[in-house]
Symmetry: D2
Amino acid sequence: MIVIMRPEATEADIAAVCQRANEMGLAGHPCYGVQQATISIIGFDESVSPGDFSSLGGVDRVVRVSTPHKLASRQSGLPATAIKIAPGITVGSGLTFVAGPCSVESREHIVHTARLVKAGGASMLRAGAFKPRTSPYQFRGLGEAGLDYLAEAGAAAGLPVVTEVMTPALVEKVAARADVLQIGTRNMQNYDLLLAVGRTDKPVLLKRGMSATLTEFLLAAEYILSAGNPNVILCERGIRTFETHTRNTLDLSAVPALKTLTHLPVVVDPSHGTGRRELVLPMARAAVACGADGLLVEVHPDPDRSISDAQQAISPEMFAQLVRDCQAIFAALHPEAARTPV
Amino acid sequence: MIVIMRPEATEADIAAVCQRANEMGLAGHPCYGVQQATISIIGFDESVSPGDFSSLGGVDRVVRVSTPHKLASRQSGLPATAIKIAPGITVGSGLTFVAGPCSVESREHIVHTARLVKAGGASMLRAGAFKPRTSPYQFRGLGEAGLDYLAEAGAAAGLPVVTEVMTPALVEKVAARADVLQIGTRNMQNYDLLLAVGRTDKPVLLKRGMSATLTEFLLAAEYILSAGNPNVILCERGIRTFETHTRNTLDLSAVPALKTLTHLPVVVDPSHGTGRRELVLPMARAAVACGADGLLVEVHPDPDRSISDAQQAISPEMFAQLVRDCQAIFAALHPEAARTPV
Amino acid sequence: MIVIMRPEATEADIAAVCQRANEMGLAGHPCYGVQQATISIIGFDESVSPGDFSSLGGVDRVVRVSTPHKLASRQSGLPATAIKIAPGITVGSGLTFVAGPCSVESREHIVHTARLVKAGGASMLRAGAFKPRTSPYQFRGLGEAGLDYLAEAGAAAGLPVVTEVMTPALVEKVAARADVLQIGTRNMQNYDLLLAVGRTDKPVLLKRGMSATLTEFLLAAEYILSAGNPNVILCERGIRTFETHTRNTLDLSAVPALKTLTHLPVVVDPSHGTGRRELVLPMARAAVACGADGLLVEVHPDPDRSISDAQQAISPEMFAQLVRDCQAIFAALHPEAARTPV
Amino acid sequence: MIVIMRPEATEADIAAVCQRANEMGLAGHPCYGVQQATISIIGFDESVSPGDFSSLGGVDRVVRVSTPHKLASRQSGLPATAIKIAPGITVGSGLTFVAGPCSVESREHIVHTARLVKAGGASMLRAGAFKPRTSPYQFRGLGEAGLDYLAEAGAAAGLPVVTEVMTPALVEKVAARADVLQIGTRNMQNYDLLLAVGRTDKPVLLKRGMSATLTEFLLAAEYILSAGNPNVILCERGIRTFETHTRNTLDLSAVPALKTLTHLPVVVDPSHGTGRRELVLPMARAAVACGADGLLVEVHPDPDRSISDAQQAISPEMFAQLVRDCQAIFAALHPEAARTPV
């Protein structure tokens, strides 16, 4: 059950709903959206009715939600979530292009790349300072220095930055320098980490686990929402199958399926999703055609020299083409939108 | 090794190439394309060189092909295969829309549906007369009567017809009434059947097996080509994964990947690929955006009353919308093509 | 609904049950077991009750079966099916060891191998005369000559023979020379072939499809049973997963799971199931430990020189060790069985 | 490259090897085993030879290891790792039975259960105090109180205890009360957590990720080893496939495959691996038959009343039967071992 508060509801109103829940042996998990707060009421529901909450102060309406994910559910009747990242940059309204190298390789490298992706049409810069690597002996990123370089590059190019945080102890540090916190695919079910980013006020880009079902994916988002943070961007990045030609199998049907299940925005990462440079552009186009709110693309000034994941990085020129193609498709499907917002 | 013959090469020229192969302890598998014949030379290749064949009469050129699939390989340097089905209907040039109900339910039903899909923009009619069903106790189609009704409906609506053939003994009968023979997903590795349709002169629509790799898929096509039939249309229809929200996981990355591996046309079946009506339209759009040559869509005048696979059938109105959207995307990506051929 | 006939029921009794079903708009599929016939009644069941059939002549009892597979279901209350192959050789009672090379390579080769596997403890000889191969250019077996050699080798060594049949047109020919017909994994859903072997009186060894669920596997068996042949041996041979270290992932949990779902015997093929010689022995032991009725193992006098699937073939010495280990485990788990029947 | 030190090598010897590696632009990762330390040398290997290290003080020998996992590799020539947990309890020598409820439900409950599993033959007690749950609204364990109850129950029954740690911040706290630290399947690639447990001196039970390849699994172990902790127990617990009859597909072939790849001990969890009570006993038997060093089994005094994962818990009586059956199989395969060590 979801209690949707009125925009003018106060902290005291929210607390009163949670207290009523407690008195009934239930628990209330508030989540603070831009327009309004919503509270997920959890517990043994048989005898509980919307009327137990609807007359409390500040309550707009109470909705029964049958999906396992509650705050993330579209059954709540809430409008699609649009997440404002910076002036003029909103995920969930028009197309958002997030681009950058797999990892921050050096200060010069990331500043240079930031300018190139900005010129190609990027709306955000993404690169890894802390890199999860399958082997302990692989390059694991520049760490805190990488964070600084990334923030500097974003500022220089006028782009908000996205970067991965891998462990709760570093959430505060990363949140101090990044505009969006990325949770990587290996950490989709790292629950302490999900709760930690849920307690910040930074938007979170949550990547789908390698073999996560859509329900598990949405419940991972629910962890973040239930900790109070309403700004979750879902990212489809390929699932693990028997096919070996591609690194993963990009599950684009997840995009329209998620759109029926949740009000959260959905972006697609065709770089990890395919692992092959020549497939990035066509799959980016397909992602937009089936309704994605944006793309996450690995772009490198000299793709073959990427320190990590070289086979899937594309050049700035290919990226500019990708942006043009995706905008053409978006415009063809949304003739009402005179201009594609970037 | 592939021997590509000149357009004016004679049967005797082709036979001479095969005989040379035999003399060298190799085997030649000729395949008769519209423009020219090609011959796959198979055996222990170390000591064999292109020069052993290039001076024979009628030979245009000889190409070493390193992929396991030979006649189907793009390494042959042959142009993309365009398959003429009927006057004005060519698969592999522009977009082709193949539509119809899962199965022929009655004479009236299929005649009626044919008219509706024609009006919606279909270029071919597809329905099952012989249905492969998981249980022996499910409806297995109307059989030969269904074939007759389908042919009649196609003629009435002016649409070539596609239908599945499940066993070698029926190939001749089905080929006599259908314009395109479909090999279903369960039969992708039914090699006697592949060879049997390879010996006909009808185009073959080959569906990818539920858990077939791209290499296996192309080798199944190679069976047909190596039996002499050059006209194979590949169809991506979803693969089996752990995800249960969708019936299958539509692997759209197979489309651009196949385009790099083969010259054969590729169509997509978003109906079986998702198993959910609400996902058919977005995934059809995505298929076109990543380069598919056409769509195979289950359309039913009254989708909820389909005898089989009701959840994935769409209405004629939805189909017309699908055609419009796909053509808009195709036009946006191919501004040079003034009009989309149908 | 399953109608179980009395042992003394006549053909006329069975026909009368089927006719009653027809009169009620249902269909009856009789299957002729050693002890008794069973008839699967299919159709719209709401209004139908056991009493509609239980008073007919020759009827023992009528059982409602809720699983999609009917004749194969354990809910029928029928005892475990034991299939007599030859005097002293029964699948489904004690352990059965089926062994032999991947393919019949020559007359001498198969005669020699037959003697070696017999000496090692085999109860049946298996080899391919018709081989399903992923590529049309691979060795596809010796065909009918291979059949003859296999039959001769079996006779010489005193072993019944198992071999694959790939297409309905050859069922009669193969059945004339083999004691057990194998349906390969690629053909598990080749329904015309299933029905064709279902019309013979030869036992059928049915391999699980590469990505078949247990329900689909049992429904494939049901096709054979519903065509009248009660003697189906199920064979787990590995499923397709993301793991690449092994050729397939041997799903041994299928063995005890199938034992709860069906009365048919279950054997395991650890050779295809792993694709690696060093894993065959441990997985054979594991199969027996979890309840398999037998093993299907690729054995070659000189494994590294196998024409096909060399990496998974084991030597006759390893096979003899496998038989000893498996019998030791069987004895440890069945102390009541003084001697393991072979 | 692995440098294997002599038993009598000193800290200074180890430091000297690492320093030599540093001087050559490489990195040394020492791991402190019971018998000897081993040091993994990582970097650009072309020009580096064993001789660069073999003459240093305390070095026994230097081994080139071609697998991506180094310290965990069997190529090092190190004997199988046997991990002493408590007097008389060694994993990797004979069979180890780890048993207990999914979660600590209360003080009384766990003390009672501990006694029951001890009586049934358990050598260790396992239960969750911190539970990773797919939904934020499910019971997540008793937390620190649960830890206390578990330690108390273990002490009362005379059983070492195993419990999961989910986040680096809690490693110290859990290590203070548990004898073995479990890393759950969702955290197999939570690298900060792996490094954190790698810095303790407690044995670690590492569960395979839901869709982890064997290489990824071994590299996760390598993270722990490379942080200095040699005592890693690998646990196969089922992988994610298309099959829905079982919760996961227990990949028993991983057991003998891992035995060829690593010297670390391997245990099997048939409870999560199948998710079905009736399959736990047969799959436990199979695990022992293919070489597992032990079992991890969910046992509950009243299985149907388990707070979590009730369908897969078995009763103490079933557990006692499981121990007997597994020991019988182990004895049949190891006649030289007069008595099974527990």
